[in-house]
Point group: C2
Chain length 231, copies 2
């Protein structure tokens, strides 16, 4: 009887704590099995199965059968962006989880945001790239400079090839719920994070969205992305 898209359906889909927990867990970008997701949400496998079916029907997640496992992931980057913006909104209004747990500091320092680096380290990385002239920032819009291309090549990333390989924008600014400042998303953000992991500088936690830097990795990271002065 009314016009327009149905917000209530998708709100209700996210509105259940069990489903919200599953989606949050999937924000790590990792593919997770039904059993793992049930654990993350604190429910039994049967209940999880029902929730997963609903999320899939709603276009939030996709599944990939592999042997007797079923791996679930967020359906696409659009879902990731929606969730992150909901998180930002929630953080902004103080809709926080019961209490900041022990993992909270680690999450604020470095975490995965769909498929790229967020948190303190993510913000620092972008700030440093902009300050060093590698990325040109006109507020929202981020553009990789020629100097930036060279710098990335030294790190083993071929920006031109990256640009060709996907329709997704190379550089994208993504707002952080913890820092309230922008960090680098897009294929470049993804490539950088994967570069850190490949080099063994960092690894992703199994059951949280935190990114753990090794002492040596942190040293290298900070040297690679210097800041003129402590913020």
């Amino acid at each position: 009887m009314k016009e327009g898209p149905d917000i209530a359906q998708i709100g209700a889909l996210i509105g259940d704590p069990a489903r919200a927990n599953m989606l949050t867990a999937l924000m790590s970008g990792q593919a997770l099995t039904a059993t793992e997701l049930a654990g993350a949400a604190g429910i039994t496998l049967q209940t999880a199965s029902s929730h997963l079916a609903k999320l899939e029907a709603g276009g939030f997640i996709a599944q990939r059968k592999q042997g007797r496992h079923r791996y679930f992931t967020l359906a696409d980057a659009g879902v990731g962006r929606l969730i992150e913006s909901l998180m930002g909104f929630a953080a902004d209004r103080g809709h926080l989880r019961h209490r900041a747990g022990p993992k909270e500091p680690a999450l604020r320092k470095a975490r995965i945001c769909y498929d790229h680096l967020a948190g303190d380290f993510g913000v620092r990385m972008l700030d440093s790239l902009v300050a060093g002239g590698a990325i040109d920032a006109a507020d929202d819009r981020l553009v990789l400079t020629a100097a930036g291309e060279e710098r990335l090549a030294a790190f083993g990333i071929d920006a031109r090839q990256l640009k060709r390989s996907s329709r997704r924008p190379l550089c994208r600014s993504c707002l952080d719920w913890s820092e309230r400042r922008a960090h680098l998303a897009g294929t470049l953000g993804k490539a950088l994070l994967y570069g850190f992991i490949e080099r063994g500088w960092a690894r992703r936690s199994a059951e949280s969205r935190a990114i753990a830097f090794s002492p040596e990795g942190e040293r290298q990271f900070l040297a690679l992305f210097p800041l003129a002065q402590a913020a």
Copy 2:
């Protein structure tokens, strides 16, 4: 027991059809009374009152007492942006309301999006401004040019003063759920819409988000925002 902001709470808040209808109604930017919102949602006044209390507690809406009326509005532009992005997501996935009602075409043609013009006319306006060199568009980022300032002055809008008067950005691009293309938001988008209404070119519908252009108003609008060729 977990980390981060609580998505489920805000999802649940939006997830109830009655509340979603109220929020959608408030997307018109108009302040509405509890009775009007109850009508929009198709529920009794008592139920509406309970929902409104929850929405207010959640930071979604604000109320202003005026005599024996209570006027409700969206709490701020952030809420408006969240809802619009949810609508976009929903439209994208085909989560549509039961059936496209009779008002649907009018909404696609011109409607209010929080406080500025959206729909076919909104998209055309931005396209024309960009094509005419009044606004410089670097993908996401919109910048008013000197030529644009003059053009607006001719329409009776003082862009410099507008910029000073608010922290809100002057130009902002906002993605449309019906057109899947950008239209103009920000204080400038608002000022333009209000200009149309003041001139009597258009008026807002009482109970929907549609903007109705008069025949003469439509003629003036199309003349003011020409497009080189039919899209």
